[in-house]
């Protein structure tokens, strides 16, 4: 198959349902061959955005470009976009073969050409021996691969995936996630993927666009999203997080550290480069990931009073490889700490002082702020 690498540009897109704003000023550029995930909770507008791109919904403002072509007003069928639906939407009365051939038949291709392409697509997804079966006779994973074959067989300029792994069990899901990713790389397919599952998003994506309430909050690579979330909401949605309110102190700790005064009055230090919200005015919160906290058991941290928080253990959950502790500070703030199985044993009720490194603490904006143009433009 040929290379299918067109860029998708979503420009200032608005979508209203009546007076309800479903999408607001969406700007997104998916690079050729890129796997970009739109991540958000249900009701965030991610499916609406997908439907707008596919052409099932008309947008109320802005435009959509696929490569050089403006597809804003084109029919879904004329956009040359392959889509895998949440429930696969396979035609139940057609065999696997007929399902995959459907887009080619609609394009009035010759019989021999269709047969060849269908065979190629089925080989790619290892479905050759199921060609004569009906969808009902296939497992969920096989059905999903049929849907994928049907979406790519006509060499679309863009592939849309609408939560295609939702209905599968965990193990199968992981296998298929990697398989889809391998196929996507092999064919260099520009892909827009929709999910509410943050793990899935981190695992599969080149970049992730986080969406809440019809607005994009952050568009960056998986590591950046996890390590330097744009704001408290993104931090909360992706992974577990402790968010502590406070104020940035005017006095800097040193040339490379900042001081942040928590509401309880405790002052902590963090590396200046960890101020993820440096370009923003307004309230900021301190983000501490549970795995970055550790208890001061030994005498090692007695002398060093920096970044130590006195707490009491309220609850512990044993998870096999890790233990998860719910801690409470004296002012009532809750903290979650995650320790590997070999760590020190703590019991409920124990007073424990926890510490963290100034390299791990990150400052994030408390609220969403308008994304700086740097983020909107493509980030290589």
């Amino acid at each position: 198959m040929t290379k299918l690498d067109c860029a998708l540009t979503i420009e200032n897109v608005d979508k209203y349902y009546g007076t309800v704003r479903a999408l607001s000023q969406i700007n997104l550029h998916v690079k050729p061959g890129e796997f970009l995930t739109i991540l958000g909770p249900s009701g965030s507008g991610k499916t609406t955005l997908l439907k707008c791109v596919a052409g099932f919904e008309t947008i109320n403002g802005g435009r959509l470009l696929l490569g050089e072509a403006d597809i804003t007003d084109k029919d879904p069928g004329a956009r040359n976009i392959g889509m895998v639906f949440q429930n696969y939407a396979l035609f139940p009365h057609m065999t696997v073969e007929q399902n995959v051939a459907f887009p080619l038949v609609m394009r009035r291709m010759g019989r021999a050409e269709i047969a060849k392409r269908v065979a190629d697509a089925l080989e790619l997804t290892e479905l050759g021996r199921f060609a004569k079966r009906y969808p009902r006779q296939l497992s969920g994973g096989q059905q999903q691969r049929v849907a994928l074959s049907r979406a790519i067989v006509f060499e679309p300029s863009l592939l849309l995936l609408d939560e295609p792994f939702g209905a599968l069990d965990r193990k199968l899901r992981e296998t298929l996630q990697l398989e889809v990713r391998r196929l996507q790389r092999e064919l260099n397919l520009t892909t827009l993927f929709i999910t509410h599952d943050q793990e899935e998003a981190l695992l599969m994506s080149d970049r992730i666009a986080v969406m809440f309430d019809g607005e994009l909050h952050q568009v960056s690579g998986p590591e950046e999203i996890y390590q330097r979330p744009a704001n408290a909401r993104v931090a909360n949605f992706i992974g577990e997080s402790n968010l502590l309110k406070g104020k940035l102190s005017a006095a800097r700790g040193s040339a490379t550290t900042l001081r942040f005064v928590l509401e309880s009055g405790i002052s902590v230090a963090l590396a200046a480069r960890n101020d993820a919200a440096c370009s923003v005015d307004g309230e900021k919160v301190l983000l501490l990931r549970p795995e970055h906290l550790s208890p001061c058991i030994d005498s090692g941290c007695v002398g060093n009073q920096k970044n130590v928080l006195p707490t009491t253990v309220e609850e512990l959950v044993y998870l096999g490889n890790v233990s998860r502790y719910r801690l409470r500070m004296q002012d009532g703030t809750e903290l979650v700490m995650r320790l590997s199985g070999s760590g020190p044993k703590l019991r409920v009720g124990d007073a424990v002082r926890v510490r963290f490194s100034e390299d791990d603490a990150v400052l994030v904006a408390a609220e969403r702020h308008t994304l700086p143009p740097r983020v909107l433009a493509e980030v290589a």
Binding site: A54, G55, F56, D75, P76, G77, A78, R79, I81, G82, M83, F85, Q86, N87, A89, F91, P92, H93, M94, F102, P103, M106, R107, Y134, P135, R136, R150, F154
Partner: protein, 278 residues
């Protein structure tokens, strides 16, 4: 078609169907057997009369013709209505079902008389057309094949709508969207996706309507005014007027056999659907 039972306790199943089976045995199978015996009495002489009389065979043909016309008309009317019912909002669906089912719950006699009021020489339709100046003298609508077909279609519509509606309800709405994104136009979506997926409902509806129409009696008798003769009416004549029970029995048996043949034939059309849906 019939779900295979996983119950190991077969005797309890028999216990459950016993009352109904007994009822059918006494009030259906026993008279049917009587009919068979009557029909084949005197060495099946009645069948010779039946097949030897041109008139009876012509009535039989006309009956099939009427049933076919009614079936096609009911299908054409029912399909869009079913689609509307299957795709509209909850509230409108309720209203729609009331409209469809209300006549269904009304006595067939009442409905047939209502048509006589509507279609008669001084009926509502003629009067409206006369008053509007569209026609200058009343048109004859009653006592014609048209009136019979109209009345029959009216009675039969729910039998067509319900199975089709049921089949449409099971069609995943994303399928049309998927087809559209794959390049299918409205006509292709209908002919390649929607129609095949609702074919089971269409066949079920057509079977019901055609088979019921073959044995129709009241509506053609009242709206046909003697100008339309259905086979069931000839059977009734044999019993009531000429007291020729053997001939009536032979006619009944022939109608039954033909009806079963139609049933079997239409059911055969479902073979493909059963392969992908079972």
């Amino acid at each position: 078609m019939i779900p295979r039972s996983r119950s190991s306790n077969r005797s309890s199943i028999w216990f459950l169907v016993a009352p109904a089976a007994l009822f059918m045995l006494v009030f259906f199978l026993y008279p049917m057997a009587g009919l068979l015996i009557q029909g084949f009495s005197e060495g099946g002489k009645a069948f010779l009369t039946l097949f030897g009389t041109d008139l009876y065979l012509r009535v039989l043909w006309a009956t099939f013709e009427t049933a076919a016309i009614v079936t096609v008309a009911a299908l054409l009317l029912a399909y869009p209505v079913s689609y509307l019912l299957a795709t509209t909002t909850r509230g409108w669906r309720l209203v729609g079902f009331m409209v469809v089912l209300l006549p269904f719950w009304t006595s067939i006699l009442v409905r047939t008389y209502a048509w006589m009021v509507l279609l008669g020489r001084n009926g509502i339709i003629n009067r409206v057309l006369l008053d509007a100046g569209i026609i200058s003298s009343p048109i004859t609508m009653l006592n014609s094949p048209f009136a019979v077909q109209l009345g029959m279609v009216h009675v039969m519509l729910p039998f067509m709508i319900l199975p089709i509606y049921n089949a449409m309800l099971r069609v995943d709405r994303d399928l049309a969207m998927a087809a559209r994104s794959l390049g299918a136009g409205a006509f292709s979506i209908f002919s390649r996706i929607y129609l095949p997926l609702t074919m089971q409902g269409i066949i079920a509806g057509c079977t019901l309507v055609f088979v019921l129409s073959l044995g129709f009696f009241i509506t053609p008798a009242l709206l046909g005014g003697g100008r339309v003769t259905m086979f069931a009416m000839v059977i009734e004549q044999q019993i009531r007027e000429t007291l020729n029970w053997p001939l009536a029995s032979a006619m009944s048996i022939l109608l039954l056999v033909l009806t079963l043949a139609v049933f079997w034939l239409l059911n055969r059309l479902n073979v493909h659907s059963r392969r992908w849906s079972a």
